[in-house]
């Protein structure tokens, strides 16, 4: 798994290698400095002159200079390597998501992708910084300190041999006990956040049902859950620092006792006070390094989950691929379904579409009607190859959709999705999604067809009006009309409207349809609608039910031969207001 991630290091390999190298130098110097200061102290004690102190001072100064240099270099390299790695991870993930097919997109909820791209990458970044900085530093420090301890203290350093395994075991147990709790607590934390999110979005529901107290109670329970789990985990982690202190103190006491004994009994010949002080310094260094090392393990275990989630996205392969020798030219706007069946995933039990045979001529207007769940949307999504049919063939312009270059096909088959979206930016910027090179006149033309020009003209900033994220500052009907205009700017051979005028009033809806008929007669138009009125003037109407086509014909034909159609029509026009 980490292998997949490390591919994203790329241009940051250099700082990633340099950082530990600089860190090593830093460590070496840091370990030499106490050695020199010990000498200095001994010299002062021996009553040396200022010139000797000056000599040592200069040496120390030089060492400090080097230490600073390497510290700075390693700090910069670490920051660059870790931030750069994170940047590449985000970039690779985001770019990979852009190659996802609809099927891939369905597998990852947007909120989960957001977390993967932000929080998860940040976790990995922190862990990576720890790895290249501390994971080298601590073992080096440890080894160096132990070696120095043996040089300085000889047999006395054997005391370390007891302290190190003891501390190691203690830290290991702490991590092992705390980690499963952490894993659990993150799930509870997610649940807590979900409940907050629901309250923010549904505040009107909460308030109108006067459920504030109920929600507070619910929240209190969830928050208490999180608190209890976190407290349990942190209480275990709280042992790590006292355990380390415990080892350190035992070390100190033993070193002092045996050290003092050795000094006195050997008359300071084999072991002197200076050595004793350095031994204590090294003992401190050893245990701190061990402690840092354990922190690295904690970081890695926490980041492991995140790394796993990132790898999932990076490994996901798009289920749709461009053919080897793609066709770029779509001949005309004809569409043919021959024996098409379709299901959303291999695991789905039910076919969303079954045995569809439908042939649409270029330039024809087709209306599609059907109840909720009749797979109208599934049917039209196969035309721009948003999904591949499970069985059978879908042809556009006389050629199977899989033969085309995907972009070329989608540029000719323009689809207005059911849950459509505008993006933050000006109206013009949004319209240019349809055609980046569209002139102002072309945009106005498309908006006139979609009956959007009038209301845009009423905005103080006209076409430069800023649309908020999700288009919250314009009405639903206006949004839908802009979405249609955006799709029209592609000048497609086939235009698909998936319930795209549901928020538009009937009068405007009629105007849009008239404009389509008058101004883009050669474009094949496929319109999914709830209202019979929206489709009754189509060349043919396709009536769908439970993933199959029930009836096809003109309005009059269907009124005559389809009972369902007649029922729907009458239910919508029953009040007898027609004259």
């Amino acid at each position: 798994m980490w292998k997949i991630l490390t591919k994203s290091i790329r241009e940051y390999k250099k700082p990633s290698v340099l950082a530990p190298a600089f860190v090593s130098m830093e460590v070496v110097i840091e370990c030499i400095i106490p050695f020199i200061t010990a000498q200095l102290v001994n010299q002062i004690k021996a009553g040396c002159g200022v010139d000797t102190i000056l000599k040592y001072g200069l040496l120390l100064l030089a060492m400090a200079g080097f230490s600073l240099l390497f510290g700075r270099l390693s700090g910069t390299a670490c920051a660059t390597a870790a931030s750069g790695f994170a940047r590449n991870l985000r970039r690779d993930m985001f770019h990979s998501i852009q190659s996802f097919s609809f099927e891939n997109i369905d597998r990852f909820p947007p909120s989960s992708l957001v977390t993967r791209l932000t929080t998860d990458v940040t976790n990995v970044q922190m862990a990576y910084m720890m790895i290249i900085r501390v994971a080298i530093r601590s073992p080096l420090m440890l080894i160096f300190a132990v070696i120095m301890a043996f040089i300085m203290g000889g047999r006395l350093a054997l005391i370390f041999a007891f302290a190190i395994p003891f501390l190691g075991t203690g830290l290991y147990l702490i991590i092992r006990k705390a980690f499963p709790i952490f894993k659990r607590v993150f799930r509870k934390y997610d649940a807590l956040n979900r409940s907050i999110q629901e309250n923010i979005q549904g505040i009107r529901v909460v308030k109108s049902f006067v459920r504030e107290a109920y929600e507070k109670q619910k929240f209190e329970k969830a928050a208490e859950d999180v608190r209890m789990e976190f407290t349990a985990a942190e209480k275990i982690l709280a042992f790590s620092s006292p355990i380390m202190q415990f080892c350190l103190y035992i070390n100190m006491v033993l070193i002092l006792t045996f050290g003092a004994y050795t000094i006195i009994s050997t008359q300071g010949l084999h072991f002197n006070v200076g050595q004793l002080s350095s031994l204590m310094v090294y003992s401190f260094q050893t245990l701190v390094s061990l402690m840092m090392l354990s922190m690295v393990f904690v970081m890695i275990t926490i980041a492991n989950e995140s790394a796993h989630r990132i790898a999932e996205v990076l490994q996901e392969k798009s289920t749709l691929v461009n053919p080897e020798n793609p066709v770029y030219d779509v001949k005309d706007g004809s569409v043919d379904f021959s024996g098409v069946s379709f299901r959303y995933s291999e695991k789905a039990e039910r076919m969303a579409l079954e045995h569809i045979d439908l042939h649409i001529r270029s330039g024809e207007t087709i209306g599609i009607l059907g109840g909720t769940g009749s797979s109208k949307t599934s049917l039209v999504q196969l035309i721009p190859r948003l999904y591949d049919a499970t069985e059978g063939v879908v042809k556009v312009g006389g050629l199977g959709v899989q033969a085309y270059d995907i972009s070329a096909l989608r540029n000719q088959v323009s689809m207005v999705l059911q849950n459509n979206l505008l993006f933050s930016g000006t109206i013009k910027e949004n319209l240019r999604w349809g055609n980046p090179l569209a002139t102002d006149e072309e945009m106005r033309e498309a908006c006139r067809l979609a009956q959007a020009d009038d209301f845009i003209a009423q905005f103080p900033d006209g076409y430069d009006t800023h649309i908020e994220q999700g288009g919250t500052n314009i009405s639903g009907g206006q949004k839908q009309r802009l979405c249609i205009a955006r799709a029209l700017l592609k000048k497609p051979k086939i235009l698909i409207l998936d319930d795209s005028t549901s928020a538009v009033d009937t009068h405007t809806d009629a105007k849009i349809r008239k404009a389509f008929r008058d101004y883009i007669p050669d474009t094949t138009k496929i319109v999914i609608a709830q209202r019979v009125a929206s489709v009754q003037d189509a060349d043919r109407i396709v009536l769908m039910d439970k993933g199959g086509i029930v009836a096809v014909g003109t309005h009059e034909e269907l009124l005559e031969k389809s009972e369902i159609y007649r029922e729907v029509y009458e239910s919508q026009n029953k009040a007898g207001g027609r004259q």
Binding site: L40, I44, K45, G49, V50, I53, L61, G71, T76, A79, A82, R90, R91, F94, H95, L113, L117, T118, M129, R133, A191, L192, N193, S195, I196, E198, N199, I200, G202, R204, K207, S208, E215, F219, A223, T231, A238, Y249, V253, L256, I264, T372, G373, P384, L417, L421, W433, G434, Q469, S502, A503, D505, T506, D509, A510, K514, R531, S571, A575, G577
Partner: protein
């Protein structure tokens, strides 16, 4: 360096809040930390003593010196034990306190949020509100659990060490102070830069998050328009910005420690030099102890210098956490300082029954509701709840400069179905926002059963009005839990009946686990139409005397809609219903239809009446059929 990162006084307020959360525990822990810090600095004094003894007796005999040393070592061991015990206590107590504080903070925030007016949610991006709970609380975690105790310990250690320094020699302490002043300058410069970039990093992370969120939600639109490359380019820009700030922030944070450490080395050298010169020149020492310059002053002093600098370095490591924590606290406090929804109403909704022709309040649910107006003399006046809603000359605007509704006057009598028709933006939804006082009117009067709604307690007013909105919001839980949200004491059978009324029963029984099917993230496993049906069932189970259906059936096919309408007509027989819809078939059978245009009612009457009048409604209606 702190300017603009957080408000003045935030630190004080945060500490005050924390102490209010734990008025007993926190002072105790503070004492415990002070004690730990004080005890922790004692061993170094004993160590000096032991070394001093050793030096004096280097040529001595263990039998003679041994007992003296062992005595000192055992005192040291005892001190260690005490410090260890107190450190264990405060570490564990701190873990408990941190989580308890975060929980209380979350609750405080949530309770505040539930009381904020709807306007707040309409004017603040939801992602921003959310980040108070995630990012801001997170910065507090670091602040409380690590920075606070660490700063306290370091401060005490620094003070203790400084006292020891002047105990030995004021002159040499002066040398150290000079060095420390230099350190502070460096911390100010480098640490300030680091904090600055950390805040910027946070900001660009927020920006990246916003971009990612928008694009992930619009991923299908991106595919349909083959807009992948442009989207990638847009992302690369925010990503590079984030990288830059993150790199800078971490660089400054990483290099601060080595810089300070080596300044520490410099100070060490300087002190050694100074000590050497003082020794050589036999300078006069100024100290508390009255010791004269000697090796036994200079050598311990050098050790203390090292510790002193180390502690300052530790303080500097907390700098980023402190500044980010305070900035987070600042944002949380800003929410807590928002004005809550005001409610000056005193009239309540109570259960009642009829006794001798008069209304009497009772505890059990009777289906007969009454408005209770407490009178000054201790008695109360009861008015039977009927569902008579009147608007008189209502004017309203969301923002000062833009008027939304003008001179709206309308009556809805109990049992009537009142519909609002009009282009989006005409003010239909606004009227419903006013009825249950999500927003308050600027001018005019709205009355419910003859009572000005300003006099009714908001919670009771809202309980008397059912609301179904176009954008349905369901909660994590089972289907039946979601329906029961309308009335918490509803039985399973009552919920099912409501679902049948709403036409939702059929599809619910076809779900994998029927009414026990778990709904995730706002019911994303259902279609928009199915979500609307559940929302209607939820309102139906509440069984309110007045119901507002705001585009509640917009995503439901007309066949199902007819079923829903029949059910709702049954339920609301004799009660008042407000319907907002753009689909004329939805509103045709209403008693009164109001046609709204630019915040004014331009036509009103029944369907037949409006058709006859041949006005705007007639145009709308016939517009749909002109192409026949």
């Amino acid at each position: 360096m702190k300017r603009g990162m957080y408000k003045k006084g935030t630190a004080k307020r945060l500490l005050k809040t924390l102490f209010q959360f734990h008025p007993v525990a926190l002072p105790l822990i503070t004492l415990c930390i002070v004690f730990t810090a004080a005890v922790s600095s004692m061993p170094s004094i004993f160590m000096q003593n032991i070394i001093a003894v050793l030096e004096q007796n280097q040529g001595g005999d263990w039998a003679h010196v041994g007992s003296q040393i062992l005595r000192l070592v055992s005192i040291l061991a005892v001190l260690y034990m005490v410090s260890l015990a107190s450190s264990l206590v405060y570490n564990r107590a701190m873990a408990v306190i941190t989580q308890a504080s975060l929980k209380k903070m979350r609750e405080k925030l949530f309770n505040k949020m539930e009381g904020l007016p709807v306007r707040y949610f309409d004017t603040h991006p939801h992602g921003d509100i959310m980040s108070h709970y995630t990012n801001d609380i997170d910065t507090l975690r670091q602040f409380i659990s690590q920075s606070m105790p660490q700063l306290l310990i370091s401060a005490i250690t620094i003070l203790t060490l400084f006292s020891i320094m002047i105990y030995y020699s004021v002159w040499m302490a002066g040398v150290v102070l000079g060095g420390v002043a230099f350190m502070l300058l460096v911390i100010r410069k480098v640490g300030g830069n680091s904090a600055k970039y950390f805040i910027r990093q946070q900001r660009s992370l927020g920006k990246a998050e916003g971009y990612i969120e928008e694009m992930m939600n619009g991923q299908k639109v991106i595919k349909v328009f083959c807009h992948e490359e442009e989207t990638k380019a847009g992302f690369d820009a925010v990503n590079d910005d984030l990288f830059h700030n993150s790199e800078q922030a971490n660089t400054f944070a990483n290099i601060l420690a080595p810089i300070l450490m080596n300044i520490g080395n410099l100070i060490y050298v300087a002190v050694a030099m100074a000590g050497g010169i003082f020794l050589l020149t036999k300078a006069h020492n100024l100290s508390i102890s009255g010791l004269v310059f000697s090796i036994s002053v200079v050598v311990p002093f050098l050790n203390i210098t090292r510790q002193f600098c180390g502690n300052i370095n530790q303080v500097s490591q907390q700098l980023n956490a402190v500044i980010m924590g305070l900035a987070g606290a600042d944002r949380i406090f800003a929410v807590l300082d928002e004005a809550s929804e005001e409610d000056a109403g005193h009239i309540m909704l109570v259960n009642s029954k009829e006794e001798n022709g008069a209304l009497v309040e009772c505890a059990e649910r009777t289906e007969l509701w009454a408005w209770k107006e407490p009178l000054p003399d201790g008695t109360a006046r009861y008015t039977r709840l009927a569902g008579d809603v009147r608007l008189r000359e209502v004017n309203f605007h969301y923002a000062e400069d833009k008027s939304v509704l003008h001179h709206i006057t309308l009556f809805a009598e109990p049992g009537q179905k009142v519909a609002f028709v009009g282009a989006t933006g005409a003010g239909k939804t606004t009227i419903t926002n006013l009825l249950n006082r999500f927003y308050d009117i600027a001018d005019g009067e709205i009355s419910y059963d003859g009572i000005n709604i300003n006099k009714i307690k908001k919670s009771d007013l809202r309980r008397a009005i059912g609301l179904v909105l176009q954008d349905t919001n369901l909660f994590t839980g089972t289907v039946i839990d979601n329906i029961r949200y309308g009335r918490l004491d509803a039985t399973d059978a009552e919920c099912e009946t409501a679902a049948k009324l709403a036409g939702a029963h059929d599809f619910i029984t076809r779900l994998p686990e029927g009414y026990r099917t778990l709904l995730l993230s706002n019911g994303s496993n259902l279609s928009q139409g199915q979500r609307q049906l559940i929302a209607i069932a939820r309102a139906a189970v509440a069984d309110p005397p007045v119901m507002i259906l705001d585009e509640a059936t917009s995503s439901i096919d007309t066949h199902t809609e007819a079923i829903v309408q029949r059910g709702m007509d049954d339920l609301m027989k004799g009660r008042t219903v407000f319907v907002i819809a753009h689909r004329l078939s939805t509103v045709q059978n209403s008693d009164v239809i109001m046609v709204l245009e630019r915040g004014e009612i331009i036509e009103r009457g029944s369907h037949a009446h409006l058709i006859e009048e041949k006005g705007k409604y007639y145009q709308l209606y016939t517009g749909a059929f002109e192409l026949e």
